[in-house]
Amino acid sequence: MSPPLLGVEEEVQSSVSSPSVECISENGMGLKERNYLGLSDCSSVDSSGVSSNLNLATELRLGLPGSQSPERETEFCLLNLGKLDEKPLFPLLPSKDGICSSSQKNVVTGNKRGFSDTMDGFSEVKGYVYTEKSWMFHEAGSDSESPQSVGHGKYPGNSGVNVILSTRSPGVQASVKQDEPANVLQEQPRATNGTSLKQTVISNNTTGAPAAKAQVVGWPPIRPFRTKTLAASSKNNDEVDGKPGPGALFVKVIMDGAPYLRKVDLRTYSTYQELSSALEKMFSCFTLGQCGSHGTAGKEILSESRLKDLLHGSEYVVTYKDKDGDWMLVGDVPWEMFIETCKRLKIMKSSNAIGLAPRAVEKSKANNKKEFGYGC
């Protein structure tokens, strides 16, 4: 396999209005915002990650045989690389100081771009760079959720810039990490990772404590039918095995009046409070009586506190169906016992819940607001 032909390009930015080549050396600071079509209005595209002027595709295309994208009239590709295949490559721009480049091919096109600050936003979070046999995480942001492989390499954590040279990988980020205002992955808490990647790092955890190996959602990729079947088998085979069940424990959640049911993994929570918050979030749209106002949804969805008020106003209770098929109010038994017996959850209107175990209802009334979000 021939060595990769690409390398990191220096940051090159083109002027918006003309296709001429210009080099605006900005030391990696505050990349100007451009959108991919070279148009100056870029209200929809504002992050450096999106607007950085790179021409990665052309360079790459030239390196790889047969990797032509289909010809089209209009801007078929949002980096406007349409005519690039025919153009020769000329290194017109001087290398930027402090940036290493392992390739001599600089692509020149109508929209001059460089394969510049390529990975800054991204691989810092999740990528790594090879330096001979060792590698380190290239992390310049405070991204605590980056999935980090157990036991490998070092974790610079919240350290600053790392400039790493590599002669092997084309994916070198040689750009000096800058304090870009809108660096995508630097600031935000990546809420998403909370749901998808619960795996925490064993060493250098941001919380400080060495975390046990938690589970990643959907990994390893095994169909739920198989997991369920094997779980049932092993339960039959070794009842005495006190090992806390691994794997997810999905139960269905129905809400009165909701158009579809949801599933929650009870193992992702350790208290009733956590479950309660999760359910609130999940079903908040239903209590609003509207689903689907997307454009302005950010303004319209109730804040969590308002929602809590609504729910504490005794509209809904959460019940569960236990192993024996009886419907009980949630919150009675210790959490561990609860997840053992809970087969299904149902959020119903308090008026419908009257038939349930009265003792439980009384108890729930007494410990109303503190214990569990959905009081009665």
């Binding site: 396999m1 990769p4 929809s44 595209v45 504002d46 450096s48 990650g49 999106v50 790179l54 595709a57 790459l60 790889l64 047969g66 990797s67 994208s69 289909p70 078929f76 949002l78 390529t118 990975m119 936003g121 979070v125 999740k126 990528g127 790594y128 999935p147 492989s149 157990v150 990988s169 084309p170 994916g171 995508v184 992955l185 935000q188 809420a191 998403t192 990643v216 959602v217 990994w219 390893p220 990729p221 095994i222 169909r223 739920p224 198989r226 079947t229 092993s234 085979n237 691994p246 794997g247 579809y260 049911l261 949801r262 979030k281 689903c291 689907g292 106002s293 997307h294 302005t296 949804a297």
Partner: protein
């Protein structure tokens, strides 16, 4: 085409010729030849396959193909199998059934995968299609035994009812009794997914009794070992059989009864099921082992020695076996045995018995797979879970099995490097794509850099489906794939550092693919919106269960992204946590 030619082939002749053309691809090509061929073809197309139910609307399908008899639909993205797609995402079949009920009174076959099927849909099917023959619900959900009862009761000529891996709500066990006594047409019945209480055994026995053409039967767990013999004796013509529970206290009469029942099935070629196996009962199979071409022991928690015994005590087993699915209890030694016996093996799947355990519980490593690759040159399809791998092993496998068309390797711990050298596994997977020129499907795992994607882009010219997790360093990786893999139809990515650049640079490529899934990557909301704006032929959907993506800056990455080509425009059944990036939708809201 000259006019003379057109006149020399009257429509009936062309129709007759076209009736021999079955494959969708060929039919599509036929319809492009000229207008009259398009017309003739569309009137005689009987079978439609729709790989993404949102790519086209029922009305459009009906308008173009008015005489369809068989339809196949797929709904949710593949990663829904691994709980990455939230419930309520979509994939509802009801609207399809409703529209087809009016337009296709002769519809006979419905095959669905990963769709939400309600009892209402099933009842509508039962009511609307007088000639209904085949219902396959693969990995579907949303229905109960009530819906099944409706199907059983109304479909007089039902041939196939296959519920594999679906989630069925247990309400009552007596739906099987709804098959009328006059129903004798069943050829295939798969109820393996049903819970214990949902099958009335006597009704099942009577049903099996009166269906002489029953060829394929997959029982569920509730059917205990002693009952299997009864069923088999009623259906000695079975070709494909899935046992229920295969465990019981060892009793000689039960054993001999079972062995006798199996041996009376002279046509039996394929076995599955085997939940809760008692190894002592495995020898009951010996009489049929020589004929077996397919053996699925992937739910059988038997240890390697028992498996080796099974394989080796059947003298002719080796020659006919094509597919084996086993748990990794089989271990390397079991696989080595397999490799020496089963020279005709074409497909191997090895599932993990303890996927969430931290330490390996069995001795299954890359050696097992290498052994099989060495011993079974006809190997085409591999699904292999293991805990360690090396580039050397992968290179060996690639060189031994150049005919591989599907290769899915799952190294259980994400980002595990080559255990010998600690290198990433780029070179190993590179060898796979380089040597296996017909590779159509590939799933990656282990420690991987952008290099591996460069190999894939360079060599994976026939690759149609690629699954990527915890891999890559930068957008370059994604770009290699999108720009290099000419045949790529489905790409699914999770937890990789791929962002806007490669996606936007290859936006046009997305129009040539069926779909792209990216979750926990680094694609910004702004980029999604841009794609939605600029690419009208694509539906760009952002999934976020925590909060609306526009409540954060546009540079924030989206949680999950699903992009697919569609001629139907944005869909109208999106739940609140799915946002369409289509301009039109935004205006409406």
């Amino acid at each position: 085409m000259q006019k003379e030619m057109a006149y020399s082939f009257p429509d009936e002749v062309l129709k007759h010729v076209f009736s021999f053309i079955q494959s969708d691809k060929d039919r599509n090509a036929v319809s492009l030849v000229c207008k009259s061929w398009y017309e003739i073809e569309r009137w005689c197309r009987r079978k439609v396959f729709i790989g993404n139910c949102y790519a086209v609307s029922p009305r459009m399908v009906i308008r173009r193909f008015p005489e369809v008899r068989s339809i196949e639909l797929k709904g949710k993205p593949h990663f829904a199998d691994f709980n990455l797609v939230p419930d309520g995402w979509g994939g509802y079949v009801l609207q399809w059934i409703a529209e087809m009920a009016g337009a296709y009174p002769w519809l006979g076959e419905i095959r669905l995968k990963r769709m939400v099927v309600t009892d209402e849909s099933l009842e509508l099917i039962a009511k609307s299609f007088k000639n209904f023959k085949v219902l396959v619900l693969f990995s579907c959900e949303g229905f109960s035994t009530d819906g099944l009862a409706a199907i059983a009761a109304s479909c007089k000529n039902l041939r196939e009812l296959d519920l594999r891996e679906s989630e069925v709500d247990d309400l009552s066990g007596h739906w099987l009794a709804q098959f009328p006594e006059t129903c004798t047409s069943l050829v295939s019945l798969n109820i393996s997914c049903l819970g214990s209480d949902e099958v009335s055994f006597s009704a099942l026995e009577r049903l099996v009794d009166r269906c002489p053409n029953l060829r394929s039967l997959q029982l569920n767990r509730a059917v205990t070992l002693d009952k299997i013999a009864n069923i088999l004796r009623r259906a000695p013509q079975l070709v494909d059989f899935g046992t229920g529970n295969y465990a019981a206290e060892l009793q000689p009469d039960v054993f001999s009864n079972l062995a006798g029942a199996f041996s009376s099935c002279k046509e039996l070629k394929s076995l599955s099921g085997f939940w809760d196996v008692v190894p002592a009962y495995l020898p009951a199979l010996y009489s049929i082992c020589p004929r077996l071409t397919s053996l699925n022991l992937s739910y059988a928690t038997i240890q390697s020695p028992d498996l080796i015994k099974l394989v080796s005590h059947c003298p002719r087993l080796q020659r006919l076996l094509f597919l084996i699915q086993v748990l990794d209890y089989v271990e390397d030694s079991g696989l080595e045995e397999l490799a020496s016996s089963c020279k005709d093996l074409q497909e191997l799947r090895v599932f993990p018995s303890d996927p969430f355990g931290v330490e390996p519980n069995v001795s299954l490593t890359e050696q097992g797979l290498v052994a099989v690759s060495l011993g079974c040159p006809k190997l085409q399809s591999v699904l292999y879970f293991c805990r360690r791998m090396s580039n050397a092993a992968l290179v060996t496998i690639a060189q031994n099995c150049p005919n591989l068309t599907r290769f899915r390797l799952c190294i259980i711990e994400p980002k595990t490097p080559d255990y010998l050298t600690l290198d990433p596994l780029d070179a190993g997977f590179g060898a796979i794509v380089e040597h296996c020129k017909d590779l159509r499907r590939l799933s990656l795992s282990g420690l991987l850099t952008d290099h591996v994607f460069e190999y894939i882009g360079t060599y994976g010219k026939k690759l149609e489906m690629l699954s990527v997790a915890f891999a890559g360093d930068s957008d370059l990786g994604l770009h290699h794939v999108l720009s290099g893999c000419e045949s790529l139809r489905k790409l699914e990515i999770r937890d990789c550092p791929f962002g806007d650049k490669a996606l936007l640079a290859n936006a046009a490529k997305l129009e040539t693919m069926r779909s792209l899934w990216m979750s926990s990557c680094a694609v910004s909301f702004g980029a999604c919106k841009l794609l939605g704006q600029k690419m009208p032929k694509l539906n760009v959907e952002v999934i976020d269960e925590t909060e609306p993506p526009d409540s954060r800056p546009e540079s924030y990455p989206v949680d999950k992204l699903y992009i697919y080509k569609s001629v139907a425009g944005p869909r109208f059944d999106m739940p609140p946590f799915v946002w369409s990036m289509d301009e039109a939708v935004k205006i409406l809201h």
